[in-house]
Point group: C3
Chain length 139, copies 3
């Protein structure tokens, strides 16, 4: 058993932008040399989230549109009253979806469906540098 | 430390059907011989999700009814306009809940509450063959 | 590779109360002596959930208020008709958010953002004793 850990950094434009990070995670899994186990993808911060989706132009609009329908940006959140940074919706969206995912590693590769990509959705209200940690563990 | 990995396959009728997969996961954990560690249950695909619930007839109706209230099947999703497959709601539901769960393994068994079962909820709009990977890792 | 597993117990007042459990999880990670790997935090039960949030007074109100807006306590859930315990909303909230989180361990410590805390949100309708299992695995 071994642990292999790498970071992913990128610049995000926020406002519910959706980023496909599958290829970067896949590269880390292959570089690890681990054949069977788990890979965890974790976003450091409280206004962006990790999940999977079929990454295609339609859903890249539909998923944020849904989130903005149930958690509207302009609503009167207590968070905004406290800090005045106006991103209360982004915090709630990120807590709802969650900052991480753990996927299986099998035969030296991550297991995902053909139309299932790992995404980061950034719900902050200003461009941000985003940092993730990818941890591969197994044999 | 060891890794033990098995698949679960079953036929699903979709339309937000809820399946209790606890017994199949529990069997894999016990077969693994691993005493303490983690078990990850991952659904391969983008229109079904994994979570826990008290698996009883009331909640089997309530949880899908809630999802259909916030993500109605008949809404005009861009995904449906692109592909014409009419399952945009299923993709959004699955991305919201997420495709996986990781639970503790303690004294050779999975740890869950008495009224806490692991479920797959399938939100596609046609019957599907569903494939999951269960990964047990630990001592 | 090693596994280190400890429980967390505390009394919760429920009704969507939010508890910051970061310090207790951090202590377990440090006590484990594990330098690099993963830490999984799992709530045993079906009416409370685990996620991360910026733990500050505003969001402690905003996040429950959002959940109560999309999953109102007083609605006519089938679960309540079956069992008469009136906590159908709590079950749905907990299944939506999920009972667990897995975070990276790096250089002997859990990795989180400065304004990112691990919380339990208890959506039951009576005070409860809550039990969690924290599993640290790695090198």
């Amino acid at each position: 058993m071994a642990v292999y850990q790498k970071s992913i950094h990128f610049h995000s434009k926020a406002f519910d932008a959706v980023y496909d990070i599958t290829e970067r995670v896949t590269t880390i899994v292959r570089d690890s040399g681990i054949e069977n186990g788990l890979v965890n993808v974790f976003h450091i911060g409280s206004t962006a989230a990790i999940t999977t989706i079929e990454y295609e132009p339609g859903l890249k609009e539909d998923f944020p549109a849904f989130l903005n329908r149930i958690i509207p940006r302009g609503e009167n959140y207590q968070h905004n009253n406290t800090w005045g940074d106006g991103n209360g919706d982004g915090h709630i969206k990120a807590s709802l979806i969650g900052p991480q995912i753990t996927c299986p590693v099998k035969d030296g590769d991550i297991v995902l469906g053909t139309w299932q990509q790992i995404i980061l959705i950034d719900s902050d209200n200003k461009p941000r540098n985003r940092n993730l940690i990818v941890t591969v563990s197994g044999d």
